[in-house]
């Protein structure tokens, strides 16, 4: 029997989608290994989350509920994960590969003297050890990685947006188990959160992305792409050329020195497709290239392409999307 513990990321009392994806994946692995799935969540005033986590298959929900855990701290949330792991003795721990998860999982792993299968896009249990595949060299290659079978604990951080999130056929028990964190030492503390522009979806967790590059010509033209984003429910991305020109902040950058994304739809507008950009979006399910230059390398990876002027095509797409919804 190999039990599986899933770290659940919540912000402002809401469970993040990436955590539900990890729970769903945990359930699938447990069905094969014959173990049970537990969840651990840290925060303040969050005991009401157990029901939702039970619906996704958590037989037990370890809850670290304390005022000093209201905002994220790596030390505090790692302590919660560590305490739940001590109580539940899992052989597998899944932590969503979000910014928070990629901060917590390695600290916890180092505490236990084990490794992390980071950012995996597939994950299986083979002969008692976790085996996954993950993009390396920013997606220019794919590595098969495996955990040490002798390790008491195997940890993976599944990449957000890759694994589906679905409820269990029947909810699990979801028994809430309070965690008391004795001697909690939090040195690096979040004091506040400054939100980005309201309603903006981050490229790292977006299911659809509309991206602009050098072809956008200047920051005054982002509203044209934002209008399309709005109609499609997409996040706004940018190439390094657009970011380095100072047209948009780095948080939008897709590529080797930006974010590596795997949305179901990636629309590249006026992006030629430098190797470093392709590295960041090459694993998108469907890619659309819109470019004046028929020789643009982006057409080599695109599913669909329009050779034309993005200043005509993009507004027409926004109109077409409006019509389609109507």
């Amino acid at each position: 029997m190999s039990n599986i513990l899933v770290f659940v990321e919540q912000r402002e009392g809401k469970v993040r989608k990436a955590a539900l994806e990890s729970l769903t994946l945990g359930r699938a692995l447990a069905a094969r290994t014959g173990g049970t799935v537990a969840a651990v969540v840290a925060g303040s005033g969050i005991s009401g989350l157990a029901g939702e986590l039970a619906a996704y298959g958590a037989a037990k929900v370890f809850v670290a509920d304390a005022p000093e855990l209201a905002l994220y701290s790596c030390e505090g949330y790692t302590a919660a994960l560590d305490a739940a792991a001590s109580a539940f003795s899992p052989s597998i721990v899944l932590v969503p590969g979000s910014m928070m998860g990629k901060d917590v999982a390695p600290r916890f792993a180092a505490r236990r003297g084990v490794g992390v299968l980071s950012d995996v896009m597939t994950l299986e249990v083979e002969n008692g050890r976790l085996v996954g595949t993950r993009p390396v060299y920013s997606g220019k290659a794919r590595a098969t990685v495996s955990a040490d079978p002798a390790a008491a604990l195997q940890i993976a951080t599944p990449r957000p947006n890759v694994f589906p999130a679905s409820k269990a056929d029947a909810p699990a028990a979801g028994e809430a188990v309070p965690l008391a964190l004795a001697g909690l030492k939090i040195r690096a503390k979040v004091t506040k959160i400054e939100a980005a522009e309201t309603g903006e979806i981050d490229v790292a967790e977006a299911d659809k992305i509309v991206s602009g590059g050098r072809g956008i010509k200047g920051p005054e033209n982002w509203p044209m792409l934002k209008a399309l984003c709005h109609e499609l429910g997409a996040a706004l991305g940018a190439s390094r050329a657009a970011v380095d020109a100072g047209w948009i902040s780095h948080s939008h950058q897709v590529g080797q020195t930006g974010k590596v994304v795997s949305p179901s739809l990636y629309i590249a507008c006026g992006i030629s497709g430098a190797i470093q950009h392709m590295a960041g979006m090459g694993s998108s399910k469907v890619i659309v290239a819109i470019n004046k230059d028929p020789e643009a390398p982006m057409f080599k990876v695109a599913t669909y392409g329009i050779v034309g002027d993005m200043f005509q095509i993009v507004p027409a797409m926004t109109e077409a999307a409006k019509k389609m919804k109507a």
Binding site: V114, G115, S118, A141, K189, G305, A320, A321
Partner: protein
Amino acid sequence: MNHIVCLAYVPDTETKIKIGADGKSIDESDVKWIVSPYDEYALEEAIKTKETKGGTVTVVTFGPAKADVGLRECLARGANEAVRIAADGLAQVDSLGVAKLLAAAIKPMPFDVLWLGNKGVGTDAQTLVPMLAEFLDLPHVNLVTKLEWKDGAVTCWREIEGAKEVVETPLPALIAAQKGLNEPRYASLKGIMAAKKKTIAVKTPADLGVDVAAVSGDKAAVRWTKLELPPARQAVKLIPADDPAKAAEELLRLLRDEAKVL
């Protein structure tokens, strides 16, 4: 204030990746190597802070002899000392092993801030920063795009999904840089000349008391068993653009009915 900057010497981000003969690592024959771009932001911030507040900057890497080129670049930009943990001839060491080696090298060195890039480009695991902080019992702040110094403490702006977290931490601390923190400088000619005369301190894992055999190759906590190129994509379906409105409608129809992503 004294600074230590850990850096990785990695394949240039523009390099085309070829799979090596062993089928689980890259072919390094035509690879151009650079200091990882994120580590450059870390180094720049350390040097900038040294220039205003005094102190020293020491750069540390785990790498083979060719990484000395990268260390000299850092010395030319303004680092005072350089240490290399020799990786020559070693089997692949994963993040946990690298964190152990770096922690062993750094433990005896006094510092106020330990700097890293938020990831090395290459393995892209993003696991080293929290692991190293844990081994050195330090608070850490990852993905930092802006910071303000206080007396014995620092306030950092950390990038998360769709927002920034404002994080306060006492020193000493580990701070991991994200793009946007600064614009790294180029080395001056004077700096390049001075860097040539400096000695790079080389230590072996054995010097540091780390049994590298226990953390590398098929003893590593995470092993790469296979490396392959991403699967080839289908040929593009081009939509004629004579009439932009028609082209746009056809594209959206294909996305909805054929690709089923709308």
